[in-house]
Every structure is written in C-alpha cells, then in structure tokens.
Symmetry: none
Subunit: 212 residues, 4 copies
C-alpha cells in the first residue's frame, strides 16, 4: 500500500486552516447534535459536478447520494442490496428531509454509454451496462436517426433520465404519500458544466433557467 496521496493531505490541510477554522463551531454542533439536512441530493459521480460546489453548500446542508448517472430504481422490496434505495430510505425515514433533488448534468458518461448501441462492456461483469439498463427502452425509443445531433440526443436523454428517476422515486410508497401530504417536494435539475448554469425542471417537466 502506497502512502496516502500528498495532494489530498495538502487539500485537507487547506480545509483545516480554511473552512474548518472558520466553521469550527458548526462542525462541532453537527457532530454532537447530529445531522439535519433538509435536502436529499441524488447526483452523479462525475468529478465536474459536485453538488456542494454547485450549490455553495456548507456542512450539514445536503444528504448526497452519488451514483453513475444519478439513477433511481423503482421500489423493489425483494431483499436485494439496493444501495440507492437504502440512501433514499435513510433520507426520508431517518432524516425526514423535505426536498429531493435529482440533479443530472451535461456530457454524462453513463448516459453516453446508454445511448451508444455499439458500446462494448468495459468488463465481463459489465456493471455499467447493467446499471444503465435501468433506463430500459428509453434510449432506443429516443432513436438513432440523424434528426438530432449527438449532443442534442445526449442532452435530451439526460433530461429524460431525470424525469424517469423522478417517476421511479414516486414508486416508493412513503415518497408518494409524503409528497401528496405536502411534506416532501421533488425537484429535477440539470447542470451545464461548461457554462456553470443550473436548469431546473418546471411543472411540465421542462428544464428552464430560473429567472434571476
């Protein structure tokens, strides 16, 4: 085992002299009183789309689940080890969060893989292929004709996938119940890595830039 990467140790030293130093009391309170985040953020692993950066969030604000392509499966109480569903259950049942945000982003590698019919599995396990198969027929329904450019198709699929994840979220009985009771709000968002812009989903499912 190699020694711990020096640039990560340097980064942590910056944290100690910077944010931690300024927010020492907040960290101590969060440690002793426990976390009470109000938002469950379901985001992608992508290194360019960290939710805490994008929303300038401080410690304790967001409970953040990150998987490849920010996917949510349907409610499947079948005894399997569903990591995403466990995080959702923890956030809703254990932390009583008030908002769920499914945040996708541009140039998503997982979505790109899902759209590529010629994509070969990267491994015999083919975990990515299996994981992205959660989108079912959606990628093929979008079609491979040349009406849309590759980039347009990618963006469309990223947004279709967010709507699909939100639909799947509502198959969780407690999510649906709390939303109907007005105690839980579900949101969609899409982050443009290049421009830094955030597009949010409106009630019709469209993604718009919020008015300033």
């Amino acid at each position: 085992m190699h020694s711990f990467p020096q640039h990560l140790l340097d980064g942590h030293a910056n944290f100690m002299s910077g944010r931690y130093s300024r927010e020492r009391d907040r960290y101590r309170d969060l440690a002793s009183a426990g976390q009470t985040p109000t938002t469950l953020m379901i985001a992608c692993c992508d290194s360019r789309a960290a939710p805490e950066m994008i929303f300038d969030a401080g410690p304790g604000e967001m409970f953040v689940l990150r998987n490849v392509a920010n996917l949510v499966p349907t409610y499947q109480p079948d005894g399997g080890q569903h990591g995403t569903s466990a995080a959702i259950e923890f956030a809703i049942k254990g932390l009583n969060i008030a908002n769920i945000v499914v945040m996708g982003h541009g140039r998503c590698g997982g979505i790109k893989a899902a759209l590529d019919p010629a994509m070969k599995p990267l491994d015999s396990g083919d975990f990515i292929g299996k994981w992205m198969s959660m989108l079912g027929e959606l990628p093929s329904q979008l079609g491979q004709n040349d009406l849309l450019t590759a980039s347009e198709r990618q963006t469309a699929m990223e947004r279709i996938s967010i709507r699909n994840s939100i639909r799947n979220l509502r198959t969780f009985p407690y999510v649906a119940a709390l939303e109907q009771e007005g105690q839980l709000a579900i949101h969609g968002a899409w982050f443009d890595i290049s421009s830094g812009e955030l597009w949010v989903m409106d009630e019709s499912g469209d993604f718009i830039r919020p008015a300033l």
Copy 2:
C-alpha cells in the same frame, strides 16, 4: 411540484459569482476535454462529510461515489444492477484513475444501524438493513459486551468496515491486477466531523493522523 428551493438557487448564484467566476476556464476545459480525475473517492452520503470540502478539491479532481456508510460489495457479476460496482468499473476501466480512497467518518448513521440489534426496519422494504447486511457477521463478531463503550464500538466498526470495503475492492479482478502492477493504489481514511481531523490507514490497517 413545488418551485425549486430558493436557498439552493441562492447557493448556485453564489457559485456563479464565486468559484465559477474564478474558474470559468477550468470548467470550460473540463467540459470540452472531458474529466480526468486521478482519484475515486468512495464516501458516505452524510451531509457533514463531503469529500470535496474535506480535501478542498476543485472541479475535475475526484470521481465521487457516495452511498450509505461508504460500503463496497464483493465482485458479483450476476447480472444484477449494482450501482457501486458500476461506479468502480467506470472509474477504473473508463477513467483509469490512479487512487481509490474509501473514506468513512465518525457518527455514521449506517454503521450505527448495523450495530444496533434492536433496530427495527424503517420500512417494509428495509433497504438500509439489507444494505448494511453487506457487513455480514462483522457487527456481531465485534460483540455487545461492555468492554467497549458505545462510542468506541461505533468508531471501531466504522474502521472495520473501511478495511472490509478495501478487502472487497480487491475481489474485482482488474482492481487486484492493477494494484499488483503498481498502477493503482488503494487507501483508507476516516474523518472526524467534530475535530475536522483526517485519519489515514497505514500498511498495518491502523488509522493514524498523518504527520504534518
């Protein structure tokens, strides 16, 4: 559907005028050239332990998988939809990352649930219980005797779990192969929310505070 939370929009406005404004070129380059993170960070969803904060990391530096209690399953190419394995495959096979860090933290709710024999499922789906069952017999092997205080037992289990996740990581054939070839390094880390300190795992599996 409620309108998008204002505090998140405000946070994004801070991002735009702050970090994005300062690092516009970096974001644009990352968008056009694609991501090339060197580290796969496997961390917890906990709102108090965001890796990018703890390591003062910028955009593009870390590919971040976050699930409840930063668990890694064993390699199971059984056709199931394994989100964590998909992220590992993506990071290793798709991004050629050089370091994997499994980072746990103090006061972890998932570990606490795994240790509590009286814990009732929060839901009939019991996704948390199933998810934490990945630890197998480890929690009961640690014992419920009075030798350790509740706090000591919790910290011990958090560290045992990190070692267990690292062991599971090595069941992925390509992880083991790359590590043996010296092209991939695997690390453990544990974050103390209260003090802000980072403890890193040494070659014997112990967690120590790195010398400054």
Copy 3:
C-alpha cells in the same frame, strides 16, 4: 378604407426625430449609392423576433427575408413563383452578399402547427399546412412519444428545421459553388424570445451560446 393607424404614424414621427435625424447622411447615401448589405437574413414573420432588433442592425446592413417559420425550399427551377427562392437569388446574384443566416426562434407558431397531428387547416386554402409540409417527414420522424415534453419537442423541431433549411440552401447551385470557393458562409441561429439569448449553430450542427 380606414385612415392610416395613428400609432404607426406616431411611430414614424419618432423615427424621423430619432434614428433618421441621427442617421440622415447614411440614409441619403444608401438611397443614392444603393444598398450593399453583407448578410442575407432568413427569419420568421413572428412579431417578437425582428432581426434588426436582435442584432441591433442599422439601415443597409441586412437583406431580410421573412416568411412563416424561416423555411427554405429546395432549388426548384420549375417556373413557379417561388418568393423565398427569388429573395435568395436576389441576395446572392444581385447583391453578392457574403453571409446567409437562417434564424429560427423559440415558440414558433409555424413549427408548432407542423408538429400537431390534430391541427385542422385554418382555411380551405390551408396555406400554412402546405407551407409547413416543406418539412416533409421530419415532424413525424421526431415522434409523438412522451419522452420529450411538448416544449422540448418544439425546440428540437425548430433546430432540425434550421438544419433542413441550410441543407436546402445548398441545393441552389450558386450557393453551393460560392460556399465551396470560400466566398459565402452559411450560418444557423436560434433566438430565445424569453431570455433574449442567441444560440448559434456550430460545425456539428449543435446550437450553442457563443462565448463572450
């Protein structure tokens, strides 16, 4: 016949005391020397998308063709009275313009009509339906499934139509020849009425906001 609308007369009085007063010499020169615009702008009749406003253009700068949905037919030298083709011929052959811009816009009524399979002709002449049939199978190829919201489908079709018009432009022999000789450049643009933003087509056919 009613008297000429007073608000138009008032508007012209503003013109006389405003722009004309400031640019009297320019108008006189343009009258005596003739027009030498460098751009043929093919735009929509929509009242919200006047090219001269959007590009802050002065007198003499743009030769502006406006029809419903900024469509360009293919080259059809069949003796019919093709108004759009006449304007293209005039701009290229008569004025030697150097740039053609096909500019679409959001919320285009013509595109909306083309996408609506239940749309009834507004008149027995059904000029709109016949005109929009220039898009051929493109609207039906885009599909009526629920993957895309109505708004997303509309935007996609607006952009597909711009690419189609550009393709049709290149069926004019002199357009194709001049472009190959590097004496004529063809561009696509899409105007967002709500945000005021201009999206321009890049070499892959995608619409992007130009970097500032």
Copy 4:
C-alpha cells in the same frame, strides 16, 4: 462552415445590454403569453426599409412578412407552397390582426427589374423574373415612352404595385369578408429612403404625406 460573424455577435451583445435589458419583462411576457400583434406588415427585403425601424416598433407589435418588392399573389388554393399566402393566413386566421399594411419603398430593386425589358435572368432558375411576373401586364402597360423619367416610372410602378397587392389581398375570401364587416383595415404605404418620409395611400389610391 465559418464561425458566426463577429459583427452580428457584437450587435446581439448591444441588444442584450440595450433594448433587451430595458424591455426584459416585455420579452418574457411575450414569450409566455404568446404574440398578439395588431398589424400585418407586408414589406420588402430591402436592407434600407426595415419596418420596425421606420415605425419605431417594439417587440410584439408587428407580424412582418418580407419578400422581394412586397408582392401579394391572388388567392390560389391549388395545393402549392405559397409562402406569402401562408403568412397572410397565419396573421388573419391565427392572430386575428386588425390592420394590414402593404409598404413599398423608393429605389426598389425588384420593381426596377420588372420595368427593365432588357433585364436578363440572373440565374437559369430565374426566380426573380418569375416572382415579378406576378405584376402581369402592369409594367408594360405603364409603357416605355419618354413621358415619364426613369425615376418617375420607377416610383409610379412601386405605387401601382402596392395597389395591385391590395387588390390581390381582397381575393382572399376571409380578408374581403373581415374588411366588409369592419374588423380588418387594409392600408398602403410608401417609404422614401432618402428623405425618411412615409407616404400613405388615401381612399382614392393616391399616396400623400399625412398631416402632422
């Protein structure tokens, strides 16, 4: 494909910081509520005679059809793709506009071509010749004698053509019906590029400068 002309991007930047900035709410309202222009303006493509400039019109005020020489064909529901008729149908049937203005202008290149018996087609398609043939025998009826100077003949033909277009407009059944019911008013106008003056058609068909 060349990059988008910089002077157009600069013009758009002026628009954003100028008119759009001042009229942001108006643009947003027009986007969300849709357009409700009260005037259909039928004008020429000429770069020196932009209706929005001449009438100092804001966004949403005029639905503007622009073709070579502001011609209107007769009502021909023959299944052809009549762009001008489609725009008229859209304005009347779809937008219920209250006024139609046919605006010609001095030094019109299309009219000049129609008057020149020695004019050779600019292209084998000869779209301009075919298009201007909509004037039928009018140019030759005006005669080539020496009674009128070239300039007088040109101005006369520009005005004859406006009267002809208005006559053709009334062959559209709904135009004629709405005008008789007093719900639609049809106007003629002629713009003098050099002096900036607007001449409007009175009930006898004469063009006069309106009293201020």
